[in-house]
Symmetry: C2
Subunit: 237 residues, 2 copies
DNA sequence: CGAAACCTTGACTTAGGTCAACAAAAGTGG
DNA sequence: CCACTTTTGTTGACCTAAGTCAAGGTTTCG
């Protein structure tokens, strides 16, 4: 019942539950380049799609999603970012997505003009963008070719460090192989990320529960009973 | 009946039909950095998913697709590249996609070690990657949230320079507003790009034909009768 | 405690997938 | 240049995964 991250739910950082950063934030933090750290609340909009692109952002702590809207209100969450990821580069003078926090977050911000100048920063950018691109490729497979169950299984597996997704290392060994997750997303946000409806996400989660693959402690707090068997449901094995 | 690109079908370059390059290849061509130009035939594999990533590629002429396979054979085409686009950066030591030509193509290749060194190249990379990222974001919306008709309409609109997609400039004016397209993709490739089946793509194309929106001259050669009315079907207006 | 937001479940509908037959191109080799 | 095979595309009949609509149940929070 009690989770490893003792402390106020929805607040205290849960080290075990957040994945290892892909880029190395400490070494490449924008602070060295004149960036400033900004704190955001949960569900705060950092910028809107269509706004003029002024700054480059690096997520230091917490979680951020990028999404796009169609005129009739359909939404697609195109990226869910983790510490170390960068965003705000639009390739034009307007942001192509809306950026909104999923948790309270610490974000390093740096003027785009600064970015132009620094070679070191360009190098970091290339590396980060390449990584995010690979994630987008994999997400395209999910959106274009996977069933609802495979989408949800893949989504959950991505929250397990070093499992699911790109650098999956397979079953760590025998042992019980369980894992606690905090999603930090509502069913609607998950649905909009996975290209499903809220009802379908809910049904798949209930089904995984019924089949004993997961245990749902709170809506956004899920225990994977056997990481391995969930991994088998991602369509990638 | 006769197309503007007089000449052998399937061979002669059709300038009106290829979109304006997003990155500027002439200025940033790898040749300056010690890259070498390589010619590929149609449907040649440049590298396979999982192969060690050795080189960075810049598409100079022709068309290339990147795709990923699931173990059971399902395929998702994750990018369709145009001249000026770069590929081959994997962010790890293995390529995350297979790269295959759609036409015969000229490609500049440069050793990844070279890339590490050059600041100018890094700058180019950042710009190209940012642009490709924006395209991937938009494609995620297509895959996650659009209907079959909207997907096909969006796909066709993307082949019209300056229309559909990111930098759509709306109806150029009155006039007839027609346009000739060469797809350079089979129905299977289109289906795998749009997250549909071959039958659905075929049905949608037939339907657009029946409704007088397009005229199908050959399977991969389509005339848009009224660009504007097709644009209305993309879900973006 | 009560309102609002969020989640779950059931009954029903439908867009797009599957399977199968056939048609039309595009190669191939004599 | 013409049979012949292979590949690619179209269409119809049917099926099903996931969407829609609607009713209730839980959480969360003022």
């Amino acid at each position: 019942m009690a989770y490893f991250d003792a402390g106020t739910p929805g607040q205290g950082a849960a080290p075990r539950m957040t994945g290892a950063p892909i880029c190395t934030p400490s070494k490449t933090s924008f602070s060295e380049f004149g960036g400033k750290a900004v704190q955001y609340d949960t569900h705060a909009v950092i910028y809107y799609e269509g706004d003029p692109a002024k700054r480059l952002y690096e997520l230091v702590k917490g979680s951020v999603m990028l999404y796009k809207l169609l005129p009739d209100g359909r939404r697609q969450v195109v990226e869910v970012l983790r510490p170390g990821d960068i965003f705000g580069l639009a390739g034009s003078d307007e942001n192509d997505c809306t950026a909104e926090t999923l948790t309270n977050a610490e974000i390093q911000e740096i003027d785009l003009k600064q970015v132009e100048r620094s070679d070191a920063l360009q190098r970091t950018l290339t590396r980060c963008l390449t990584n995010q691109m690979r994630v987008l490729h994999e997400h395209a497979v999910l959106l274009g070719r996977k069933s609802a169950v495979e989408r949800v299984a893949s989504f959950l597996m991505h929250l397990v460090p070093d499992r699911g997704g790109v650098g999956c290392i397979g079953p760590i060994d025998d042992s019980d192989d369980g894992f606690d997750l905090r999603l930090h997303m509502t069913r609607q946000e998950i649905a909009d990320y996975l290209g499903l409806t809220i009802e379908t996400v809910s049904r798949v989660v209930s089904d995984l529960k019924r089949r004993g693959v997961i245990r749902v402690d709170r809506a956004d707090q899920i225990h994977l009973n056997k990481v391995c068997s969930l991994c088998q449901m991602t369509g990638m094995h």
